[in-house]
């Protein structure tokens, strides 16, 4: 598909859903309170200027509009259809809509996937019809959508929010209603509100893609229970986040939440780390609460993206400013170092007791004009990227006048965000209203202001980050791997023998110590003499996972006699502790010098595909959990970041005169595992533990490799 054709098609879909020239409401009703009635009324009352066609076989007129008995009776073109008929006849209606050339269909009706098998089949039928007519579908089982600029209220939500830059996409219809009600009171403006429902066809990624092109939308907020198509999300969302910020609240991340989500949506939550990795890869910001989601939405829709991390705090009280400084430090924001010129100006303009370094404390008796002076002065400083203004209502404080001053100053510094913290209740109420109306985000406590600011700053960094999209490919022996996997499949196994697993990583250029499988003592001795001493021997049995626990591992064997003794001992132990286990033999492996132990692994996430893991190895791995994750394919930069962001990196660099470990060889291993998991979709898991890392330029060795296929 050529780029032009694709964007044209996108524009068509966008127009059909957000600014259609005509809308039909199928299942329009005369009775007040019925969904089919509310929709017609909302369309009529929202100021929509296109044509509205209510469809109802029994009615002649609804809310003063001419009613049609069937969609097929409408002579005009119908671009968008809103369906609110009982689930059993939705397919029939969709068929009519398809014949009529409808481009977009919103199915409000419930009674689909969410009710079980019957509904699931009904939903599949509906989707089939839509596909046949090339008609896109929102829902079923949704609230509908709202666009405030067209304007279009294609939902049964009575309240239309005021205009603004926030687009909100939600998998929960009820959350939409609640947010609409809250937005009215908080004077938060929206460009679009979209309730996704069952996502039979269009999902969060489709709407993200459409909203990326919507000039009125400054920020996209999404409430998500699960992503429908993880790989498509990975493909589309980076393009969106380069145009505008996307903030997602993903619920169902805890075990209890996952259970709740499972019974609520019937879909598996997917792993929390995979979501984190996906969002990071795509430049999507993740909100941890509904409050944080909307705080970020409000800030993004009203504030510019700052150039850097330097924050200045202006305050009329010491305590809150210290809390704010602490919060900055927690979020890795930099307390701006003011330039000497700025400090001079502040010293001249402020009372002697004031603090003219950051945080700038302009004292409890500060009136509005002192706030004005201080704020203007610090914002003029080129080392300041953003400002947090704290006001506590003290005896002489002028909250309203101060608010007005902040509003005026904002227009003078359009490239620097200003966030206000107006603490208190009654005395700051009116001032808060003024700030909100003028698009200055305002918070009751400093921590929220700082955490919101850190979100905006993070997005700025995402935009600036040079995206390294070169995924290095190595010259590997794919054919050998394919042969091994085919054999394992033919034998209907999923867990590879360690010999096979090692052959696979070796074929991908990851070094392994020489080893052989011996089925009897004679073979063990022969193998030992071929490989050379000293040796390690390990039991091989599909039933024995913890080899050491049953005495199935012998180390540092130096002679033929020791090999014979070890073989017999291992066999005896296995028979003693696990008499039912099937023993395939004993692995004879070259003993290698001990290196620093790390783990490199891959777990194929059901949503996002191969999730590559790096971490500290050895026996403390389960306690310290010092691990990092990225989704494949991985760039060299990402592989390097995976290593450097762990705490163990310091140990790998070497402490107290210790030489640095071979970081390049680890990076190389991570990249090769990434390539292996991209090349072979049937590999479900890879675990190299431990990977011995030697001193710089001396490479790595994969001691133990486990691979599971599916």
């Amino acid at each position: 598909m050529d780029q032009g054709g694709r964007s044209e098609r996108l524009a068509d879909i966008g127009k059909a859903f957000f600014s259609p020239s005509s809308v039909a409401v199928i299942g329009a009703s005369r009775s007040e309170g019925a969904v089919g009635h509310e929709i017609v009324r909302n369309l009529k009352n929202c100021g929509y200027t296109g044509k509205i066609f209510p469809i109802n076989p029994k009615a002649e007129k609804i809310l003063g509009l001419k009613c049609y008995h069937s969609l097929l009776d409408v002579e005009d073109n119908v671009e968008l259809g809103i369906v609110a008929v009982p689930a059993e006849i939705v397919a029939e209606v969709a068929e009519d809509a398809g014949k009529r050339g409808v481009k977009g269909l919103i199915v409000i009706s419930a009674g689909f996937k969410e009710i079980g098998i019957e509904g699931m089949e009904r939903e599949a039928d509906l989707l089939k019809i839509c596909k046949r007519y090339n008609m896109r579908l929102l829902g079923p089982n949704c609230l509908g959508l709202i666009n405030t600029y067209t304007p279009l209220n294609a939902s049964f939500a009575p309240k239309m929010p005021s205009r603004g830059g926030i687009a909100f996409i939600s998998q929960s219809g009820a959350l939409c209603t609640a947010i609409l009600d809250w937005a009215a009171e908080e004077e938060v403006g929206f460009s679009n509100i979209i309730s996704l429902g069952n996502m039979a066809d269009m999902d969060e990624t489709d709407f993200m893609e459409l909203l990326a092109e919507d000039p009125m939308t400054k920020v996209i907020l999404i409430y998500l229970e699960g992503i429908k198509d993880g790989r498509r999300f990975l493909e589309i969302s980076p393009k969106v986040t380069r145009k505008k910020p996307v903030v997602i609240l993903k619920s169902g991340v805890s075990d209890a939440g996952a259970r709740a989500a499972a019974s609520h949506t019937g879909s598996i939550a997917g792993s929390g780390v995979a979501y984190d990795a996906a969002f990071r890869k795509c430049g999507v910001l993740r909100a941890k609460s509904i409050e944080e989601l909307f705080n970020l939405g409000i800030a993004f829709s009203s504030q510019p993206i700052p150039k850097g991390r330097s924050v200045v705090i202006i305050t009329n009280a010491g305590g809150p400013s210290i809390v704010a400084a602490d919060a900055c430090s927690q979020h890795n924001l930099k307390m701006a170092w003011l330039s000497p010129g700025t400090i001079d100006s502040l010293r001249q303009g402020l009372p002697e007791e004031a603090s003219w370094t950051n945080p700038v404390d302009i004292l409890g008796d500060a009136l509005a004009d002192r706030y004005k002076f201080a704020l203007e002065t610090v914002l003029s400083d080129r080392f300041v990227d953003s400002a947090v203004v704290i006001l506590t209502p003290q005896a002489m404080t002028q909250p309203i006048e101060t608010a007005k001053q902040i509003v005026t100053i904002k227009s003078k510094f359009p490239e620097k965000p200003i966030l206000a913290v107006f603490m208190g209740g009654e005395r700051v109420r009116e001032a808060i209203k003024i700030l909100k109306k003028a698009g200055i985000p305002v918070y009751p406590h400093p921590e929220k202001a700082v955490s919101t600011l850190s979100g905006i700053i993070e997005y700025g960094e995402i935009l600036n980050r040079r995206i390294d999209e070169s995924f290095p490919t190595f010259d590997v022996d794919r054919e050998s791997v394919r042969r091994i996997i085919e054999r394992v499949k033919r034998e209907r196994r999923v867990n590879l023998l360690s010999v096979e697993a090692r052959q696979i990583v070796q074929a991908y250029g990851i070094p392994v110590p020489p080893s052989e499988l011996a089925q009897d003592v004679r073979q063990a001795v022969e193998a030992a003499n071929r490989i050379g001493y000293p040796l390690a021997m390990k039991i091989v049995s599909p039933q024995i996972l913890h080899k050491t626990d049953i005495g199935g591992v012998k180390l540092n064997l130096k002679s033929e006699e020791e090999v014979v003794k070890a073989f017999n001992e291992i066999m005896r132990n296995a028979n003693l502790f696990m008499p039912e286990a099937r023993i395939f033999g004993v692995e004879v492996q070259k003993m290698v010098p001990v290196g620093r132990e790390v783990i490199v692994g891959m777990n194929r996430d059901i949503q996002f595909g191969p999730l590559i893991m790096f971490g500290l190895g050895g026996i403390y791995v389960n306690i310290l959990k010092d691990v990092s994750f990225r989704l494949a394919p991985i760039s060299t930069q990402e592989a390097y970041e995976m290593i450097t962001e762990t705490k163990s990196y310091a140990l790998l660099r070497g402490v107290r005169g210790e030489k640095s470990a071979d970081i390049n060889a680890i990076t190389d291993t991570i990249l090769r595992i990434s390539q292996l998991s991209m090349d072979f979709k049937e590999i479900a898991e890879i675990d190299i533990n431990p990977l011995f890392v030697y001193e710089d330029n001396k490479g790595v060795l994969a001691l133990d490799v486990k691979i599971t296929i599916m």
């Binding site: 996937k113 969410e114 009710i115 079980g116 098998i117 509904g119 699931m120 075990d255 996952a258 259970r259 989500a261 499972a262 019974s263 949506t265 019937g266 879909s267 598996i268 939550a269 792993s271 929390g272 034998e491 209907r492 999923v494 867990n495 499988l517 089925q519 009897d520 028979n575 099937r582 023993i583 395939f584 033999g585 777990n603 059901i606 479900a684 898991e685 599971t708 599916m710």
Partner: protein, 361 residues
């Protein structure tokens, strides 16, 4: 006695190692080669009843599959009860041998080849003077030992039985190994077979483990648990090779479940997260315990993936305990397993050699 060439198949070790499947496979293969093959099982267990007549289900399977004309009580003249030592009086016992030989004469009449199946090991029936070791010589047959091997002890078992059998004056044709797993087969070929052959025992075949034969189907599991099947009826013939308990978090569950293909996952009906994780992996059935009906969405997903859900009243431990030793049984119309039995014999047993040995090549 009858001069129809015959093979008397007997277990060298424990009872359940696929004796019936081997008999069935041999008979079908020989029939395919154009021989008129008969089947005889002198001693059977009373495992079921038809019209209140006690029968041995294996006998029924053979009669139906091989289209045998003889009545069941002729193919298996003696049916043992659980307390079979109390079953016959002294006088009756004396006539049992006659009953067997008489029945065999009738069954073997006009046949080219006979397959005789023993009840377990060669010793069983000694108390009634009807052990396989004894009967084989009376029926002028050749004992064929069936063994399986994980360990070297299999060799000693076979050698000991061979000595006993030949001491009793009975002919022993040799051994077939069943359920031999790769890569253990290497050791069998390199060490075990040479040892047996050195002692004059011929090995006629190494049949690999076949889950088609051994793994129970979802239907068999549901029946043994008296479970209610709430969806996925189309796939009750799914094989179950392992049981896994789902009692962890969803995230760990997926990794755990991936490592076991063709499994049944046993979990509570109140764990939709576990059920859904299982459905993302190769799962043959979901067994939900505690009679807790699952969420409609779980049922919908299972239906879509074609995975049967079995609802059982027991707790998880009891459920596992009841199914863990369940193995597949070839049923009368079980085409899949019947064909598998024949395939295994065709591919892994030297049936041509056996025919030559019986003078029928």
């Amino acid at each position: 006695m009858s001069d129809v060439p015959s093979l008397y198949v007997v277990s060298a070790t424990r009872q359940s190692i696929g004796k019936t499947a081997l008999c069935l496979g041999l008979a079908l293969k020989f029939m395919e080669e154009g021989f008129n093959v008969g089947y005889f099982k002198p001693l059977g267990w009373h495992t079921a009843s038809i019209n209140e007549e006690p029968i041995d289900e294996d006998t029924l399977l053979m009669k139906e599959t091989l289209n045998l004309e003889e009545p069941l009580n002729l193919i298996t003249p003696i049916l043992l009860e659980y307390h079979y030592l109390d079953q016959y009086s002294k006088e009756e016992e004396g006539r049992l041998l006659d009953k067997v030989t008489e029945a065999y004469r009738k069954v073997a009449e006009s046949k080219d080849l006979m397959i005789i199946e023993a009840l377990h090991e060669p010793c069983l029936g000694v108390s009634l003077n009807l052990s396989a070791a004894n009967l084989a010589s009376i029926l002028n047959s050749n004992l064929l030992l069936l063994s399986t091997t994980y360990q070297d002890t299999a060799v000693d078992e076979i050698l000991f039985e061979h000595i006993c059998i030949t001491k009793m004056g009975t002919k022993c044709t040799g051994v077939i190994f069943n359920r031999v797993q790769s890569p253990i087969d290497n050791r069998v070929r390199k060490v075990i077979i040479p040892t047996l052959e050195k002692n004059g025992i011929k090995v006629w075949g190494l049949m690999p483990e076949s889950t088609t034969l051994t793994a129970p189907t979802v239907k068999e599991i549901a029946e043994s648990l008296n479970g209610e099947i709430i969806c996925g009826e189309k796939n009750l013939s799914n094989m179950v090779e392992r049981y896994l308990i789902g009692a962890m978090t969803q995230e760990s569950a997926i990794r755990y479940f991936r490592r076991a293909p063709r499994k049944a996952v046993i979990t509570g009906g109140d764990r939709p997260d576990i059920a859904l994780a299982a459905l993302e992996t190769d799962t043959s059935a979901l067994i939900l315990t505690g009679n807790l009906h699952p969420d409609v969405r779980v049922i919908a997903k299972a239906e879509k993936k074609g995975v049967p859900i079995i609802l059982v009243p027991y707790d998880t431990y009891t459920t596992v305990d009841r199914v863990k030793d369940l193995t597949g049984k070839i049923g009368v119309s079980d085409k899949k397993r019947i064909n598998e039995a024949k395939r295994l014999v065709s591919e892994y047993v030297d049936w041509k050699g056996l025919l030559r040995h019986l003078g029928r090549a």
